[in-house]
């Protein structure tokens, strides 16, 4: 039986179908600095073995106010500081320019693509679903252009059912598109979306309702954030936690 499986896998590999039907992603060489995109937070980079893998779909998922966007901006700042181009597909048009500037993102190297969000949909309930699908097409175009250092698809505030309605093959197709490239591809959402196509998933969650947010008198001071690293498709199953802190 083992022999038959090996034969099947070798056949799939020969036809370059191994990555779509099995869970094995290409291994990242930790000595290759072009294979990793450090996020700029040394504690997290250390846990990730140097940074986020390039050529894979990675995910930042978690509930509202869990620190996803803070880490995202930090990654974008680190990427632009390396001289890379960053593309942000902002499906719901919620990107805050002031926060990005404060985080140190070089805005000149950021291509911001703003989705069409309709606040009052009226009778046409499908408008925002169409906006997400349109954003996905824009995301695909950016990946096809190639050579961006970091490409982000941000649907963090989108309803979970709207994201789930994207065809499952979308993520497989994206994974195949980004595979072998030097692009770190990042999906930001409320819950995992790429499922078996995702390489690395960072799950965010506030630590505690009382201690997870810091308020000092009349000032909001920041968030205490806990992230859990899940490598769903890695050969070595790994799960680790990292605590982070943000400041307002």
């Amino acid at each position: 039986m083992a022999l038959a499986r090996a034969d099947l896998e070798s056949l799939l590999r020969a036809r370059q179908l191994d990555r779509t039907l099995t869970t094995a992603l290409p291994q990242i060489d930790p000595r290759d600095e072009h294979a990793l995109a450090p996020c700029g937070i040394s504690a997290l980079d250390a846990r990730l073995g140097g940074g986020f893998p390039r050529g894979q779909l990675s995910e930042l998922v978690g509930p509202r106010s869990s620190g996803r966007t803070s880490l995202l901006l930090q990654m974008m700042a680190a990427a632009t500081a390396r001289g890379e181009l960053v593309a942000l597909v902002d499906a719901l048009d919620m990107f805050d320019v002031e926060s990005a500037a404060a985080a140190g993102v070089d805005l000149e190297r950021l291509l911001w693509i703003r989705g069409h969000l309709v606040t009052n949909q009226g009778l046409c309930r499908e408008l925002n679903q169409r906006a997400i699908e349109q954003a996905m097409r824009a995301f695909t175009l950016v990946l096809q252009a190639g050579n961006f250092g970091l490409v982000v698809f941000d649907v963090a505030e989108a309803p979970a059912d709207a994201v789930r309605r994207l065809p499952f093959t979308t993520w497989l197709r994206l994974q195949r598109m980004v595979e072998g490239s030097q692009t770190a591809c990042l999906l930001v959402g409320g819950e995992p979306m790429a499922r078996s196509s995702a390489g690395l998933t960072l799950k965010f969650g506030s630590r505690n309702l009382e201690t997870g947010m810091r308020f000092h008198g009349l000032l909001f001071d920041g968030l205490e954030v806990q992230t859990r690293i899940v490598r769903a498709r890695a050969r070595e199953q790994e799960e680790a936690c990292v605590a982070l802190s943000t400041s307002a």
Binding site: A43, S65, S70, R82, V97, G115, F215, E224, S245
Partner: protein, 533 residues
């Protein structure tokens, strides 16, 4: 059988031979312009260069087989000049410099045998170098220094002729006058320091195709465009030119003409990119009828010279970025993408959009890349240091990570802006919000666990918009319309210009979310402005 000896190099390529035409100043100089001299040169060779308005150098290297020896070539040149009414000095020599200096010095025809340039130039006066101001003296300052050297220093040194200067030791000359002295001496010896750069005529890059059957779809048009663009791209490549502006002229069956003009952000000549850009533009601006003639006209510009480096990551090429931006424009709309720009204002959430540049290969990115590799090395070192202490599941202490974040990294709490603020119902006790609820799907709301504020901001109250809006609000009937009119003023972003006056609070709710809410002091209404994330 012994093989034939290899041909001599001289037999394969002709020895260099240059002719120079000089038009001395005279009363008819104005009537006989530079164009006449260039026309004479053009009659003999396509390789000619205008040194000055009155001095033209012609490469006549290959004419010995056609016309005969150098003497015959010179005579033919002189005859042609006379036929065109030009009284020109003609010199033929093995180097451009020798031919030019001889032409400047001697009237009529002078032919210098190959290898005897220096001896032919030797008796000429040193002041001739002053007249021969060619591109070897690149700056005016250098030219003045040459004059100074020739006129003053030569007298002091007792130098009178080019031969005197040519015979001086080069090292000593350079030691006293610097590098330019080497150029002067080379000129005095008749040596060329620059190759001849042939002049090229202005070429028009245009191609058109008449169609037997009119076409109305983009797909067949793409084949036509490819057929037209491919030879144009080849011609552009030969001339080291790129496309600055692409004109697509479509003659319709109605005898009207549709003209599209694409200004490209960077010079390019890639056929696929140009075709895609043209098609995307035509998709957005379709022709009103079927097309029976397609014409492409290109405004050329000097080609882009890119020096790649091994030390920086590859960036998308301008062709790729231009195509991407055109595709995004067709998909999302031209105003939905670009570079965000922070605006110098106190308005919350204000921003502006600028076009995304297509050429990012600058020095700055290289410098950044050097710094980035250092940060990666730092992270990797830390990774190695921790590798020995962690297990398969580990946790970094809060103090460590928080300390590093605060001291070195300063991770900023980011906001997610609600581009149109979400109306909220806020219960207030003792002047502080205690409960926030909304009707918007996805915003559950709840009791306020912590709050910070208020922070009062206002601005542009001096503008006229405020009065207009107040009157507008009175006219509007119905709650939803009232909110809508109010949103536009309070909306973050540069699009929502106008006065604002509000009290902001940062509140954390029982569902774990942290919001920035504000009370519009004019309308006395509450809104959710942003989510802290």
């Amino acid at each position: 059988m012994p093989s034939a000896p290899p041909p001599e190099p001289s037999a394969l390529s002709p020895q260099p031979l240059y002719a120079c035409l000089y038009r001395p100043p005279s009363s008819d100089a104005a009537a006989v312009g530079t164009a006449t001299l260039l026309a004479i040169a053009q009659e003999f060779s396509p390789r000619y260069e205008r040194q000055r308005d009155d001095l033209v150098t012609v490469d006549v290297s290959g004419l010995t087989r056609l016309l005969g020896p150098a003497q015959t070539i010179g005579e033919e040149l002189r005859r042609e000049a006379v036929a065109r009414g030009v009284r020109a000095h003609v010199a033929v020599a093995g180097t451009q410099t020798a031919a030019a200096l001889i032409a400047l010095a001697r009237p009529g025809l002078t032919v210098i045998a190959r290898g005897e340039e220096a001896s032919a130039l030797a008796p000429l006066p040193l002041g001739l170098l002053e007249k021969y101001e060619v591109r070897s003296q690149k700056s005016e300052e250098e030219a003045l220094r040459t004059s100074d050297f020739v006129l003053r220093t030569s007298k002091k040194w007792g130098l009178r002729t080019l031969g005197d200067l040519a015979s001086l030791p080069t090292a000593d000359l350079v030691a006293r006058f610097g590098r330019p002295a080497r150029a002067w001496q080379a000129m005095a010896r008749g040596e060329d320091r620059w190759p001849l750069v042939p002049m090229l005529e202005e070429e028009r890059f245009e191609a058109s195709l008449d169609l037997e059957w009119p076409i109305s779809d983009l797909e067949p048009l793409s084949f036509v465009l490819t057929r037209l663009l491919e030879p144009l791209s080849t011609r552009l490549e030969r001339r080291d030119r790129g496309v600055a502006v692409l004109h697509v002229l479509l003659r319709l069956v109605t005898r009207d003409t549709t003209a599209r003009r694409l200004e490209l952000p960077t010079p390019m000549r890639d056929v696929r990119a140009l075709r895609t850009l043209a098609l995307l533009d035509l998709e957005a601006h379709p022709a009103e009828a079927a097309i029976d003639r397609v014409t492409i006209v290109i405004d050329p510009t000097p080609g882009r010279v890119v020096q790649h480096t091994l030390y920086t990551r590859a960036q998308p090429t301008p062709e790729q970025l231009s195509t991407l931006l055109a595709r995004l424009g067709a998909l999302m709309g031209q105003d939905r993408f670009g570079v965000p720009v922070a605006v110098d204002t106190d308005r919350p959430g204000a921003f502006a959009m600028a076009p995304f540049a297509t050429d990012h290969n600058d020095q700055r990115s290289r410098l950044r890349a050097e710094g980035a590799s250092a940060s990666l090395a730092e992270a990797r070192g830390r990774c190695r240091a921790e590798a020995g202490t962690r297990g398969t599941r580990g946790e970094i202490s809060l103090e460590d990570s928080a300390g590093s974040a605060r001291s070195a990294l300063n991770v900023v709490s980011a906001l997610r802006r609600c581009r149109q603020p979400v109306p909220a119902r806020v219960a207030v006790a003792d002047g502080r919000p205690v409960r926030v609820t909304t009707d918007r799907r996805g915003f559950t709301g709840g009791a306020v666990t912590h709050c910070a504020g208020p922070w009062r901001t206002s601005g542009e109250w001096w503008t006229e918009r405020k009065l207009e809006v107040r009157s507008q609000k009175l006219e509007v009937k119905g709650q939803s319309s009232l909110q809508t009119s109010n949103f536009k003023l309070q909306t973050s972003g540069a699009e929502g210009a106008g006065p604002w006056d509000r009290d902001e609070w940062d509140v954390s709710l029982s569902d774990g979310a942290v919001y920035r809410v504000f009370r519009d002091r004019d309308a006395d209404r509450w809104f959710i402005d942003a989510i802290v994330d």
